[in-house]
């Protein structure tokens, strides 16, 4: 039995010492650094990777120099990178959805109930294991001396090894591989709550299986679908590891660009600007999602 959250029995003050440590930690080591990063995005890179001092601040603002980094990010070279990040994230998300939905459906609806926990567990475990290692596994497979090429060669299917690595294809596979578990879970959560008698009623009223799926199942599991899309699209957009290990020079994504600016090019201001553009995109998406869930009155995690 759950007692509904009773506003009468809540007391005001005892909460503060409980939330204070978290406020401090996240305020100082999360919000503050983000703010500093944001501020830096308006600065210019100086010598040795530090910041160039600004002589005339007023002129700096009015001449538009203050937005130099953001302006620079609109250069075709970088736009290409953003575009690539975007379409890769979209393709990954769509493929993930298409591949994961049947799996989630199987676990939640078709599989015998006693197997459900086990099957779900199987899907959850990759969710928590190292993304690095899972990406490395594909590196291992796709290399010219990797298993796939070895097998193809020894089976006589190809005469010399395929260039499976360091291209868009490899990055997509890596992304897909990494993100499928993130899609299965929210879909499962929604499907589990599905009232099967609704499907039976639909069939009873004459709808074909496809029709039932489109008109009943999909709308009812939309919250899970939307959550899954968000959970896959956002990390894909900000992806670093997959494109770093599996992609080549021609498959740089936004995440690599940012890392590059900080680690190699030592242009923190520009890197910050790109970082914030990425963040803005992510926050915009989440804002839309929040409005969607609020309208639907969904359960909140916190």
């Amino acid at each position: 039995m759950k007692r509904a959250r009773d506003p009468r029995s809540k007391i005001r003050n005892p909460a503060f010492p409980l939330v204070l440590p978290t406020w401090l930690v996240l305020g100082v080591f999360f919000l503050l650094p983000l703010t500093i990063l944001f501020v830096i995005s308006f600065a210019q890179r100086g010598t040795y990777g530090s910041l160039r001092p600004i002589e005339d601040f007023g002129h700096y603002v009015t001449s538009g120099k203050i937005l130099a980094n953001y302006a620079r990010s609109l250069h075709p070279i970088y736009l290409q990178i953003f575009w690539r990040s975007l379409w890769m994230a979209v393709v990954t998300t769509v493929l993930c959805l298409a591949l994961s939905y049947p799996v989630a459906y199987y676990i939640a609806v078709v599989a015998p109930p006693r197997r459900r926990n086990f099957l779900l567990g199987l899907a959850v475990v990759p969710f928590w294991t190292s993304f690095l290692i899972r990406t490395y596994a594909w590196m291992f497979l796709l290399r010219t001396e990797g298993l796939i090429n070895r097998t193809l060669l020894s089976a006589g299917l190809v005469s010399h090894p395929l260039e499976l690595l360091y291209n868009n294809f490899a990055v997509l596979i890596g992304l897909l591989y990494g993100e499928i578990p993130f899609m299965i879970l929210p879909l499962f959560a929604s499907l589990e709550k599905l009232d099967l008698s609704l499907l039976e009623a639909s069939a009873d009223l004459g709808a074909s299986r496809a029709s039932t799926f489109l008109r009943v199942t999909v709308p009812l599991t939309m919250p899970g679908i939307v959550a899954g899309i968000i959970l896959v699209f956002v990390p894909s957009l900000g992806q670093f590891i997959v494109s770093d290990l599996l992609g080549g020079a021609r498959t740089i994504l936004a995440g690599n660009l940012i890392q590059n600016q900080f680690a190699v090019a030592r242009n923190k201001p520009f890197g910050s600007a790109v970082a914030f553009e990425l963040t803005a995109a992510v926050l915009a998406l989440l804002f839309v999602y929040t409005i969607y869930t609020r309208r639907k009155g969904q359960d909140v995690l916190l």
Binding site: M1, K2, R3, K10, R12, P14, A15, L18, V19, P21, T22, W23, V25, L26, F29, F30, P33, L34, I36, L37, L99, P102, V103, Y106, V110, A111, R114, L119, A123, V125, P126, W128, T129, S130, F131, I133, Y136, A137, M139, F140, R143, E145, R150, L196, R209, V234, P235, L237, G238, F240, G255, Q259, F262, S272, A275, F276, T279, L283, L301, L302
Partner: protein, 271 residues
Amino acid sequence: MSRAGEARGPGSRGPFLRAHAWLIYLFLYAPIAILVVFSFNKATQTAVWQGFTTEWYGSLVHNELILTAVRNSLIVGVAATLLATVFGTLVALALGRYAFRGEGFTRNLLYLPIIIPEIVVGAALVTFFGVVGLRLSLVTVVIAHVVFSVSYVAIVVRARLSGFDRSLEEAALDLGARPLQTFWRVTLPLILPGIVSGALLVFTVSIDDYVITSFVAGVGATTLPLQIYSMLKVGVTPEVNAVSTLLLLLTVILIVIAQRLQQPPPEGVRD
């Protein structure tokens, strides 16, 4: 309509769905399985099977870099987990029990570290440490890990709390226990599985983290994922497979335990 024990739902679609599901499972696990298998491969550079050996695991033990990395990962993992668990549990209690000003702010604050891309968080932290003059070291790594871990613990514990029967606490108060005693004897034991589960989860995430750690680890603060990464960049060797396998094994064990702890308690009996 469906008999006990049988799969429910659309009948003849079953086999196709089952096949598809297992294919996806295969897709998910095969690469990892291959990785693990080849960690026992005698050959060094190629993916050709040349016999079974455990020499790579042996050489790990003698690999100074690996050992240091493991030590660092454990230090960071334990420290970050302890701190994040305490902070996260306290916040979860606050959100689940009390109405306070700043409740919405706290919630959003907790969602942010999970939502904002790791790249951005890492960049922000390294910049911040530079600005305040804090040298990069294991300490900065711990700080970074705590930042993204608190939210996970809060979510897990909060979930446990939301199913918590408040009348149990009222009963304890009624029977003479003061609030602190009630928390200690009733609330805490009942949410403990959730807390431990959250702790195991963030330990796992900490052990596995690469991106943020790569930004904030100083010299000598190399953690295992960082070490693995640099090994990868140099060249693919069975040693990498071996250390990856061990890390995977540890992760799986911890996750399974964490999942078990999140099971709800058993139901009652009929009259």
